[in-house]
Every structure is written in C-alpha cells, then in structure tokens.
C-alpha cells in the first residue's frame, strides 16, 4: 500500500464520484417523490392480486413486489440505483490498471520503487474508497427521501439497512469482474464500452428473469444476488446467492492479481 498512489488515484476519481453520487441521489429523491401517487394505485392492485392463486402471482414475481408499501416501492427504485452503481463500479474496475497502458503512463509507474503488489493494492483501495463515497451518498439520500415523502406509511428500517448493506458487496463484484476482464483482453482501448456492457448486460439478464419466470442463467447476475424485491419480502439476504456473489468477486480478484503480477506491460516505443 502506497499512500502516494492511493491519494493520486482517489483524486483523479473524485470528479467522477461526485457526478455519479449527485445523479444517484437525484434519482432516489425524484423517484421517491412520486411514492404517494403509486401508493394509492397500488393499494387497489393488492386487493385484486389477493384474488389470484399464489402460483400465478409467483410466476410473475408479483408476490414479492408491493408498491403500496414504502419498502416495496423503494425496492422498485433500488433496481435503477443498482444499475447506476453497477456501471460505475464496472467502469472503475475496467479502468483500474488498464488506464496506465492506454494513457502510456505505465512506464512511469513501473519505474517507481514500488512493487506491483503495492500498485495493485493501492489502486484497488482507492477505487473502493471512491465507491464507498458514492455508497454513503446512497445511504443518506435513501433515508432523506423516505423521511421526506413517506407520509403516514410505516417501514422497517432494519430491512432498509439490509438493502443498503448489500451495496458494498454488489459494487465489489462489478469492480473485480471488470478488473479481471480488463486483464484478460490484450488491450483495453476505451473503458466505457466494457463498463456499459457489463453493467447493462447484467441488468438486462435480471430484467428477463423478473418478467418471464424461471431460467437458471439469472444466477449469474449480481442484480439477482441482491434482488431488492426478494430481500424486502424475506427480510433477509438470500444467503447462498450472496455467498456466490462474494465467491465470484474474490475469485475474480485473485485471478486479476495473478494476471497483473505476471502481465507483460508494453513500454512506449
């Protein structure tokens, strides 16, 4: 761990972190301000849904979604927050070490008296710190939005905390997978297509599962591992899926480290 590298990395990310945080906070507060409209309509829905057989409701995932409650509605917004966080984390992951090569600064960095392990760890920690900053903004704006707009509706802060606690693992997974991808391809020319592809790809895969019932492939996507609707109705993490998520993240991290230590980094010619 080198403090200089950490500071430099963190500073270069600061602008991007501020922009992401502001957009996510806006998203949460804006969407939540529509809660009252939804709550009225959704109460009607719930009455109607009660008349259908439970298997049918399960087929559409409607048994889990209840827009008439604070957390039911919040879990609906949370999906979009996750999409933003996923793209941000994937971007940071893909760019973490590849940026040195695409910007031709790898020579400079590698000639410094620090080991690659130190470089890797400092960069990783800086990215994590940057993501955590955004994470904190999500926490704060979620509580603010709920307090401002929930009206007379009650909610369980414990379950909300659970959702928010999941974010850090969710980010870590995208960060590490992005990092691994950047180290598996020969050369990353531009970060955004990879980041967008990873984030939106996982999102679309999850969207499919929500609408069309059951196919096993969804277990690949972190959006499913931290499915807010399911967590709100169960009031707990889906332990096997969360473990799977952590395992994927750690495996990707270990492989990335292994690849980076042995990587042939081209010099500027």
């Amino acid at each position: 761990m080198s403090a200089t590298i950490f500071k430099h990395e963190f500073r270069t990310k600061l602008r991007s972190v501020l922009i992401w945080s502001a957009s996510v906070a806006f998203l949460i507060i804006f969407f939540f301000s529509l809660f009252s409209v939804f709550a009225e309509q959704a109460a009607l829905v719930n009455q109607m849904m009660a008349n259908f057989p439970p298997q049918m409701r399960a087929a559409f995932g409607l048994d889990k979604m209840d827009l008439a409650t604070v957390l039911g509605y919040y879990s609906f917004i949370f999906l979009f927050v996750q999409l933003c966080l996923a793209i941000q984390a994937a971007n940071y992951g893909v760019g973490l070490v590849s940026v040195e090569e695409s910007e031709l600064t790898a020579d400079f960095l590698m000639s410094k008296p620090v080991s690659r392990t130190q470089v890797f760890v400092s960069k990783l920690l800086a990215a994590l710190a940057a993501l955590t900053l955004t994470n904190l903004v999500v926490w704060a704006s979620s509580f603010i939005a709920i307090e401002l707009f929930r009206g007379d509706f009650e909610y369980q802060p414990g379950t909300l905390l659970l959702l928010l606690l999941g974010i850090v693992l969710f980010q870590l997974c995208f960060l590490c997978v992005g990092l691994l991808i950047s180290l598996l391809v020969r050369r990353v020319r531009s970060v955004t297509p990879y980041g967008l592809g990873l984030g939106f790809g996982a999102y679309v895969l999850n969207g499919f599962s929500g609408v069309f019932g059951d196919v096993k492939l969804e277990y690949l996507t972190p959006f499913k591992h931290f499915d807010a609707a399911a967590m709100v109705s169960e009031r707990a993490f889906d332990a096997p899926l969360v473990l799977l998520n952590v395992a994927v993240a750690l495996l990707a991290l270990a492989l990335s480290y292994w690849r980076y230590i042995r990587r042939d980094i081209p010099a500027v010619s």
């Binding site: 309509q41 979009f80 793209i87 955004t192 980041g195 196919v215």
Partner: protein, 264 residues
C-alpha cells in the same frame, strides 16, 4: 473510401461481439416465451392488472401469450442495446484517433476534415444497419418453430425500423460528442450519461401522467412498442423530431470538428 473501408474493418470485431450478445439475448428470451405461448390463464391475469403497475414493469398493452405481444415487450431491450452500441460507435469512431494518438496521421492525409468525418460516419452507419439486419435475421430464425403468421413478420419489420431510428438518433448524438469534446475521454462518459439519463426518463415519463411531457426528451419513448403495435406505423411527429435531432447533431458535428483544435 480508404478511410471508410479501414473503419469498417476496425469496427468489425465490435459488431461481432454486439451481435453475439444480441443473439444470446434473443435465444434466452424465446426459450422463456415457450412458457407463455397460448396460455389463457396468463392472459386473464395480465388483463386485470392496472396500468401503472404494468407500466412499471414495461408490460403494458401486450398480450404476452402471442408472439407479437412478446416481441413488443422485447423492444425496449432491442432499443437499449441498439442505442448503447450506436452511441459508442458514433463517439469512438471520431475520438479514438485522438486517444490512440493517430489523429496527426489521419489529418495530414490529402483529404479535408469533413471528408474524414463523412467516411467515419458512413462506416458507423453501415455498422448500425448491419446490427439491425442481424437482429432481424436472428429473430426470424429464433421464432421459426412457433410458425408465426404474416402479422408478426409485419410487426417485426416495423420494430426493426424503429430500432434503426433509435440507433440513428444515438449515432448522431455520439458523433457530435466525438467531434465536439475537447478531451476525448469526456466523449465516452458523456455518452454513458446521456444513455442512462434518457433511459431513466423513459421510465419516469410512463409512471405518472404529469411527467408525460418528459417523453419528448427520450428517444426510447419516441417509438413506444405498444404504440407501434396499435397503430401499425411509426408516429410521423416523432420521426420528424428524430430527423431534426439527427440533422442538428450531424451539422453541428461537422462545423465544430472543422474548427476545433485537436488534442495531440
């Protein structure tokens, strides 16, 4: 012409990757459709859900038990994929020269800057058209076993035209970003911001009637699949609006790029 051919070759890999992703998406979706095909119980449930709920899950106005209804639901994903691909191609095709430090080379060639932009834009355009055609043909193959009728093929054709229209809008926006951004890195991240923002807007505008006006700001709503399904054609007003956006972006791109200091 040389630039055009070179760009086509350079983008081929990216086109192949996008096409593979699209093929996977369609295959997963069609395999899921088999659970819905012709099930009247499902239809009964769908009919009784209130509009806001359906809108939130972008399932409104479709009879999911028919192939057309199902493909209507898929349209938002096609549009999204097309938009991301097109915006990336549009912004990269111009800005990568500065990123890869090759801009000095391409601009000392005996061609004007406008011709460079034209050749690059045309290459990206060909990519977009190919992407739609590939999506179209994969869809045709994937649904073969359900023996769809002519009405479905007509609707598919319409959807694909709408997808192309969405792609063109984002391609033009991407081109403008690539031409106008002084720092090449900003072109990519601004494109991301625009895609995310317009996607969120399309969701917001459908959720609540007072936010309906937002639909003019998001190309994803210009060609709403349920409207396409009901009317059987693309809305002329929105077509004009898209054409306007495209023309403005492309013209602005040319003007800016001709005058701009390049990052060397």
């Amino acid at each position: 012409m040389n630039i055009f051919v070179r760009e086509l070759k350079a983008n081929l890999k990216s086109l192949i990757i996008w096409s593979v992703i699209m093929a996977l998406l369609i295959l997963i979706a069609v395999s899921k459709y088999s659970a819905f095909a012709g099930d009247p119980e499902m239809l009964k449930i769908l009919d009784s859900m209130p509009p806001a709920m359906m809108e939130a899950m972008s399932m409104n106005a479709f009879n999911l038990t028919t192939l057309s209804g199902f493909y209507g639901l898929m349209f938002i994903y096609f549009g999204l994929m097309g938009a991301i691909a097109a915006a990336m191609w549009g912004s990269e095709v111009i800005s990568k020269e500065e990123r890869d430090k090759t801009v000095e080379f391409s601009l000392v060639l005996p061609v004007s800057r406008s011709r460079v932009v034209t050749a690059k834009a045309l290459a990206a355009l060909v990519n977009c058209i190919l992407f739609v055609l590939i999506t179209w043909s994969i869809s045709m193959v994937a649904v073969k076993s359900y023996n769809p009728d002519q009405a479905f093929y007509d609707f598919l054709a319409l959807e694909m035209q709408a997808m192309l229209a969405v792609e063109l809008v984002f391609l033009a926006v991407g081109l403008l970003l690539g031409c106008a951004m002084k720092r090449y890195k900003l072109a990519g991240s601004t494109a991301v911001a625009i895609i995310l923002a317009t996607y969120m807007l399309s969701i917001m505008s459908g959720m609540y009637e007072k936010l309906d006006f937002l639909k003019y700001f998001t190309p994803f709503k210009y060609y709403d699949a349920s409207a396409l399904f009901r009317s059987g054609k693309m809305d002329a007003g929105y077509l004009a609006l898209s054409a306007g956006i495209i023309v403005v972006c492309v013209v602005a791109g040319y003007v800016v790029y001709n005058k701009r200091d390049l990052y060397i």
